[in-house]
Subunit: 279 residues, 2 copies
């Protein structure tokens, strides 16, 4: 759903795309030249990645030095390691949780090491590499540093919804989330589009931590005026109503979502719960 | 492997890409305008498709009329129906074969009907729609017409390797394949790139039907001169050697492939067989 949500935003506001792309485009001559020379390998690796051949994708890019190649290589290693972890734990519930270190993503130490040997400037100016670094830091139980790195990534490129969700999943309390919301408010006031992304995050944070207020309702109204048909937004409204035990309103909202987007599966467990409770 | 092979060709000869793209680009003002108005829906549908939500992809494009939207909608329905067939047959071997009509792709009748109601001109000028039409005709046991439609698609766009493979899989004998090889020889002499694709097909056809000749060796040499590091080509050489019971040569060739492309899995069953026989 994260990728989907991201593209939903792009559908509703295609002009945002140029911002999303900028963070990946080379900002200096050296990277431009490197990426140009590595174009063929990068294309091949992306194809392997799409075919879910993560090890081959990483293998093809060995020795490449552009940001783009480095990111695809390390991200392939991360996803490949995750896939192997799933296979090894054989889908047994509880074997994957954080208290069990037997089944883990064995590529993470290599990824961390390579990210740490990158030039400081190179890492800190690329939102994708920073996002991956944040994710592996969180998996290494290094929450504080991981959150800080995800924050940096989002300040560079606020249109990476997956990155927001990774940060959100690292919060253990609403007050912890509030600290970051305030940090983002200081950092992301530069453009209208940045503020919109922050508003999406704010609404989601409040929903996830069972908060509701006049302020959030007004934020929801602001976003709905811009994206009137966006199922994700309407689902946040429904979930907030549900969290406030306002089942009638939640049901009406879910009915509308199902009408406009009948094959959407997200949050339908909550809808089913509402129908059961109201019977 | 088909998508991979296709992109391998692109890697080795990126100038071919512009030909591959042309077949999808609108050839008239009307389509240009239609596709422009449907851009957002098409983007959303492609994202659903990438997330394997085939039903949603098809649903989003209901009522769209551009070639591009029509193709993505019908192809999503085809893949979605195929996925459901797999799930229903629950992976039981033998339940999927051609003598059993209980488990079938239930979307095919709708796809065929919609393709048949398209304007004749529209269908016949779009290689992607033709390719899909050929595939569903073959699944409907309509081999002769299906082969003819795939042939038309390939004449329009010879860079769709999946389409060549669909045609190949429909041949029941080498003489049947030869008839089509000759037809292609008449139709695809127009450009160097077209002839290269035909040469790939010719070599593969000969390999699959256990043929070997001086002519095929010379074709292989021609292709190898253009694509010296292409694993697919080297694998065809190895398989032809294997088919001719020349196990020594086949083993040497497979050793080279594994050295240059160590994570490639295709055809390794044959390699394992060679090692077993030669022990």
């Amino acid at each position: 759903p994260s990728k989907e949500d991201q593209l939903m935003v792009m559908r509703e506001a295609p002009h945002l795309l140029k911002f999303a792309d900028e963070s990946f485009s080379p900002s200096n001559e050296e990277e431009l030249l490197l990426a140009y020379h590595e174009t063929n390998k990068i294309t091949l690796a992306k194809t392997y990645f799409d075919c879910k051949e993560y090890d081959r994708a990483a293998h093809v890019l060995k020795g490449c030095n552009s940001w783009k190649a480095t990111f695809i290589k390390l991200y392939s290693m991360y996803i490949g390691g995750d896939k192997r972890k799933e296979e090894e734990s054989d889908g047994i519930l509880g074997q994957n949780n954080s208290n069990n270190n037997f089944y883990c993503n064995k590529n993470i130490p290599v990824i961390v090491k390579e990210l740490e040997t990158l030039e400081h400037h190179k890492l800190n100016s690329n939102s994708h590499l920073l996002c991956l670094y944040g994710i592996v830091l969180l998996e290494n139980k290094n929450s504080t540093e991981g959150q800080e790195v995800l924050f940096k990534s989002l300040v560079l490129n606020p249109f990476n919804w997956s990155c927001w969700l990774e940060l959100l999943s690292s919060f253990t309390s609403f007050s912890e989330a509030t600290v970051y919301l305030n940090k983002f408010y200081k950092a992301l006031q530069t453009s209208f589009e940045y503020r919109i992304m922050l508003l999406f995050f704010k609404v989601t944070v409040n929903q996830v931590f069972f908060q509701s207020s006049e302020e959030i309702n007004s934020d929801l109204a602001t976003l709905s005026a811009i994206f009137p048909c966006f199922s994700y937004l309407n689902a946040q409204k429904a979930l907030i109503a549900y969290n406030m035990l306002d089942y009638n309103n939640a049901e009406v909202l879910f009915d509308q979502i199902l009408l406009s987007d009948p094959l959407r599966l997200d949050d339908l467990d909550t809808y089913s719960n509402i129908l059961y409770v109201m019977e």
